[in-house]
């Protein structure tokens, strides 16, 4: 495939060579096997279903969702929160690669960065899906709109998320472009950005936690542990996704050199999954041992309140998945090659566990009981599921295309 890459002459201007690079990348990215086309067609179809559902939501009002004035955020914001974590989790490849000079990691670190890009795109889409007036989106733009910075944490989030997107686009774009030009990347053009992206990754998730934990009227969120918990679970879900992605990339494309990064990430999850469980346990102890009305959201989440139990199955599923995944990760044999399917299963469990814990298990109980202690339950409507799945499909499309673009780099890491 590398034969497709023309090497432009040394003195060609970036103005002409960069569009060439973009065009070439797109061409390559849309090239593939039947299975690839089938996969993309499937994702497109699902995405279109979601787009249609969203259009209906905008046209008919958000009455089509199951959100209420009591539970005013639902599945969208739940997914948004999780996606921020996924984006931040991508950085878990960058840290070993650039801070500890893990050579093997260095070659594949771009997978983490591309995941971050796809996840942020999904984040932004979830936020837009949640807006009652997406047509007024321009009100959020600094200068032409009215940006309540720095008082509103949401404006911080808008800034850091877009900043993170740009950072990662720059890093990935630069590395791939240099490869296209056949040059060795100049560290001064990307190492500072990589360092910044590490700090930035932490900041996106911290600020997303601040969105919730700064609200005094919501005792369930109003805890200093929220940001650290977010980070810990992000560092489970991000690496878990990357491991699964790498296993598939290896299986499908035969890219080598992925086993050692997989091992490193598994070791990282081993630690972070325990830290996450520890923090959850500490949170639960504080809630339940103290009791009182602050514990009512937790009670609702775990056992139901006044006979209302909509979230109970979700929670216990998450706990079951998280504990099983933790047990599997702690088992040293998991890294053995013949246990690959089990590793993938463990990653999936950790991933889904984190998704529930941070989505339905965190956003919804913040609203139940409501601030007047009404118990209004929330179960996402069909429309919400369609939009959500549509956005996931779009994210996977972005990720697939991004990975395809980077495949030549992954295949011939020796080039730089």
């Amino acid at each position: 495939m590398s034969s497709l890459t023309a090497t432009p002459s040394e003195n060609e201007s970036h103005i002409t060579s960069y569009p060439k690079f973009v065009g070439r990348s797109l061409w390559l990215a849309t090239e593939g096997s039947l299975a690839f086309y089938a996969w993309m067609t499937m994702l497109t179809a699902v995405f279109l279903v979601g787009a249609n559902a969203w259009a209906n939501q905008v046209a008919g009002g958000m009455i089509g969702t199951n959100m209420t004035d009591q539970v005013s955020w639902g599945l969208y914001i739940a997914n948004f929160t999780f996606m921020v974590g996924l984006a931040a989790g991508g950085v878990m490849m960058v840290i070993p690669a650039y801070l500890y000079h893990d050579r093997k990691m260095h070659d594949v670190v771009i997978i983490g960065e591309l995941l971050a890009i796809a996840a942020i795109v999904m984040c932004l889409m979830f936020v837009v899906a949640d807006l009652g007036r997406p047509d007024r989106f321009w009100h959020l733009l600094p200068l032409i709109g009215k940006f309540n910075f720095p008082i509103s944490m949401l404006t911080w989030d808008v800034i850091v998320l877009n900043g993170y997107l740009l950072l990662n686009l720059h890093i990935c774009g630069y590395l791939l472009y240099m490869r296209f030009l056949g040059r060795k990347p100049n560290p001064t053009w990307y190492i500072p950005f990589v360092m910044l992206s590490i700090v930035w990754a932490i900041s996106i998730h911290t600020i997303t936690a601040f969105l919730y934990c700064g609200l005094g009227g919501r005792p369930f969120w109003n805890t200093a542990l929220l940001a650290p918990r977010f980070l810990a679970s992000a560092f489970v879900s991000g690496p878990a996704f990357i491991i699964v992605a790498m296993v598939f990339i290896k299986r499908i494309t035969g890219v080598g050199g992925l086993d050692q990064p997989i091992a490193t990430l598994t070791k990282i999850i081993r630690v972070t999954i325990l830290i996450n469980l520890l923090m959850v346990a500490s949170e639960l102890f504080t809630e339940f041992y103290t009791g009182g009305s602050h514990a009512s959201a937790a009670k609702y989440l775990f056992f139901g309140l006044h006979g209302k139990t909509a979230l109970v199955p979700w929670t216990w599923t998450a706990i079951g998945l998280n504990l099983t995944a933790a047990a599997l990760f702690l088992w040293p044999g998991l890294l053995a090659f013949r246990w690959r399917p089990l590793l993938v299963a463990a990653c999936c469990m950790a991933f889904v566990g984190a998704w529930i814990e941070k989505g339905m298990g965190l956003i919804i109980p913040g609203f139940v009981p409501s601030t007047l202690h009404e118990i209004v339950e929330y179960v996402p409507s069909q429309l919400e599921w369609k939009v959500t799945v549509g956005i996931w499909a779009f994210g996977l499309m972005v990720f697939t295309i991004a990975i395809k673009t980077a495949l030549p780099t992954l295949k011939n890491p020796a080039k730089y």
Binding site: P150, S203, G307
Partner: protein
Amino acid sequence: MKKLKLRITNLVFATTVFLVVIMTFGLYLKRAERGNPHHDRADVRGLLQVANDDKVESDDKAFAVVVHRPAGPPRVALAGVDPQGRRGEVACSTCHSVRKANLENKTTDTLNEFHEGLVVNHGKLACYACHNPDDSDSLRLADGTNVAYQDVMTLCSQCHGQQATAFAHGAHGGMNGHWDLTRGPQMKNNCVDCHDPHSPSFPSMIVDFKPKDRFNAPAEHDQEGQ
């Protein structure tokens, strides 16, 4: 190794600077916003003080507080109609002027000619604690002073001083119209508009309007929940 250490130190330093700068900036701007006089966020105690030495629009109130008054002494409808088919009404004194007052009576149970069935549930008061035995078309105070029916509030206020004080300060009895008397009048009820003088406790009511929160018609809520 040295390079690695240097890099980590750099990174830690950069993080700290980043955090300190954004935090300071954020806090500063938040302060600035809070200090903005436009926002008028002084607490109540502060406001009370300000207002005390700075009398605001307490004078030249152009409009009055109008307390509703009863039309006059009650008139009693006669049973039946006269040959011309007209209904008649008489004053209390029509009967009571020819009857001896029983100053002890406290209940309608003892009555067999008139007022039967009237529910009296007003402390241990006798009828003539408030009605005037000497002039049945008016009321009387505890000290014997005559009070017109229109001024019934004076009578009630003898015992219900707390409510009377609150009423005088707009904290009892409700009102309609204007809070700002420079712009329009204010109308207020009198005691017997809301309280039946013979059985003054406020009647029980039926709740007939309930918001239906989306998807949650009241019927779906479990009352036993609590």
